[in-house]
Symmetry: C2
Subunit: 142 residues, 2 copies
């Protein structure tokens, strides 16, 4: 959990960030939506890192509560819920890309595609625009 109760987590920007999305699983969920096109509870579960169902539900609720993620019923299949990044969530993209850039440098076993990293370093604006379109286009649902 990312702290809710406790004192005052506003003010300092790093502390504020931590209170909004500052735990491992939140980052991974944001990654899944932002870069992997995942949008359903099920898809997050199958992400590979093995998050537990209760933790996932909890983190999605936190992220929604903090306004980073929105939750809507799927219009076609009403038993499903679509999770999306809000504008506030999408605005984390530069931070996420910086992290990716860093990890590519320091993880010897990085799996970041060479093409992606090249684009990130040579024309970050273009890459960001591309990713943003992916996030926004959104296949009619919700």
């Amino acid at each position: 959990m990312v702290d809710k109760k406790s004192k005052n987590w506003t003010g300092c920007p790093v502390r504020f960030g931590m209170s909004q999305f500052g735990d491992k699983w939140s980052f991974l969920i944001i990654r899944d939506i932002m870069f992997k096109g995942r949008r359903y509870y099920n898809e997050f579960l199958e992400a590979g890192e093995g998050i537990s169902t209760n933790i996932l539900a909890n983190r999605l609720a936190d992220l929604e509560f903090n306004g980073l993620v929105s939750k809507h019923q799927d219009t076609i299949k009403r038993s499903k819920y679509i999770y999306r990044l809000t504008e506030k969530g999408i605005a984390l993209m530069p931070m996420m890309l910086s992290m990716i850039d860093w990890s590519e440098r320091y993880d010897e076993q990085t799996e970041v595609p060479a093409e992606f990293i090249k684009k990130l370093r040579e024309s970050p604006e273009a890459l960001q625009k591309e990713l943003l379109e992916q996030l926004t286009k959104d296949s009619t649902n919700g």
Copy 2:
């Protein structure tokens, strides 16, 4: 703790990042060194968020183990230890600055100085260079 045992945390850059610095306290320690000029155990303790002594020791050890932070005896007062960011740690600056930029936007009670945020948005290179000099100059010790 930021996971040590468990499977394979390399590969995915977000997952890798989480394994290297992916918890609240680690971020706050990095902030303290990077932006507040703190370098001693004591100074981290007094940071205001109230980290426990054992957790602080543990996180510093993790960060050192991961090569983000270095630890050296203070040359003047040998009972003290100086903690610094390594190059690898310093390389997180763009990510930290992106987070600060984001928080300034979304935290209504942000305390980021207007001057700082202006510089960050108008001439990020210059700001980064300034901050870097602060980190590198380093008052003769260690």
